[in-house]
Amino acid sequence: MNRSARIGLSIVLAVLLVLPFVVTNSFYLDLIIRMQINAIIVLGLNLLVGFAGQISLGHAGFVGIGAFASAILPTHFGWSPLAALVAGAVFTGILALIVARPILKLKGQYLAMATLGLGIIINIVLRNESQYTGGPDGMPVPTLEAFGLSITSDWQWYWLLTAMLVFSLWASLNLIDSPFGRALRALHGSEIAAKVTGVDVVRYKVVIFVLSAACASIMGSITAHYIGFITPSVSDFPHSIELLTMVVVGGMASVFGSLVGAVLLTGLPQALASFDGWETLVFGAILVGCMIFMPKGLVPTLAAKFRKQG
């Protein structure tokens, strides 16, 4: 982790510590919590897409598995919420492991299609197995309880997610600056160069796909517990695209870009509410503008500009 990463992490930590003194409104608190949740999913997705260069158009499917594991297992089978969360992540990990080998042999648009298909299959299963999932209407999710503590108030959620977010940022920064992370970035930069230097390319792709999927699943569980009610739309294609857009706008292969992308795209629809009926258009225009003027994403572009001046 270099100096700028350490400064970035300190700034994030400071902001998260100061926010409780500034935010009094429960509407904004809810928004911040959703930003935090998205930021962690996007971090995991960025490791796969931005750093390792493997596209996934089905990540919302993994979010959906986690969310419904946390809804179904405690409700229908009496599991503890924590066990359900872990079971969801393990199941997602195994599913990702099984599909990863054939899928990750594909490249470019073929990989995009395969992951898209996987996401859609998960979405269809969740929609149709209505005796367990409640079908399109969804189902309520019990409170998250672990070790005798139950997370009920929004402030409890805030601190839990603050801890998870800071840990995720720290761990991601460590990871990309390690032998493992360098191998991931190398296979993105030149797969053939990575191979001849001894990187088992397939294994690395599989591992990061599984990690990224399990991360999405865990955050799906968290989302379900936080909102208290879940519908299959959490796993649908538009949600996958939304997550991917956060990666791209914030900055591919940028840890802090993931955070910025998630904050921006979660908050922007709210900020644009005053456009009253035109918000979708303005939202689209901002995205197009970002991609035209900052094709590498917000954080990498601004960082490069800053470095040139300073």
Binding site: R182, A186, V196, T197
Partner: protein, 253 residues
Amino acid sequence: MNLLEVSNLSISFGGVKAVQDVSFSVPAGTIYSVIGPNGAGKTTLFNLITGIYTPDHGAIRLQGENIVGKAPNQLAALGMARTFQNLQICSNMSAIENVMVGAHLRLNRNLVKAALRFPSIRRRDLELREEAAQLMRFVGLERFLDSDADSMPYGALKRLEIARALAMQPRVVFLDEPAAGLNPRETEEVAQLVRRVAESGVTVVLVEHDMKMVMALSDRILVMEYGRKLTEGTAEEVRTNPDVIAAYLGGHA
């Protein structure tokens, strides 16, 4: 003892017999060159030996062990390194990180320990950065220690590939046209670098079009034409061989 023994190696792509029945052996500690006109099958030969292609026939032995069918990353573990005629640089990384990737197999690659910033992994990474910096100095890239790979000129990237290959601490390194596209001064520098690599104990197999460099450096030379072995010998033997002259200049000698 021969480090590398290639016997009766063949591969066809459709109707094109790119490499046909080629045999040769490379003694340890030498500089061995492969030359031939464009399209003679030199790069294909490299790709066969380094595991990018699987041969239709033939055997390749590295220190006596048959390595046909092994993947490139397995060959890397056996001490085989290479560079590419068309650069294979990770342009999304810094120059020094490109070199550090070369040391991949010598490192602890544990994901969990890396994410949790275990001191042992950090310490090894700091040592490695110093090693990589020394290698960059060795190949003459001290100017680019803090550069991103995508901001470096072509000639420097050629050397960066050599530094990355050396970071693997290989037994044998395959250099595919290290001087291609370089000016005469740069070519001379690369020639000196290749000699220093060989002197450091690494066997060098070289594909190169610059005849001055090949003749000056090589202990032995393999000449290929139309996918076949035309002849093999010392620089002097090859230079005076009438078949070689015919292959390069055309006509019947």
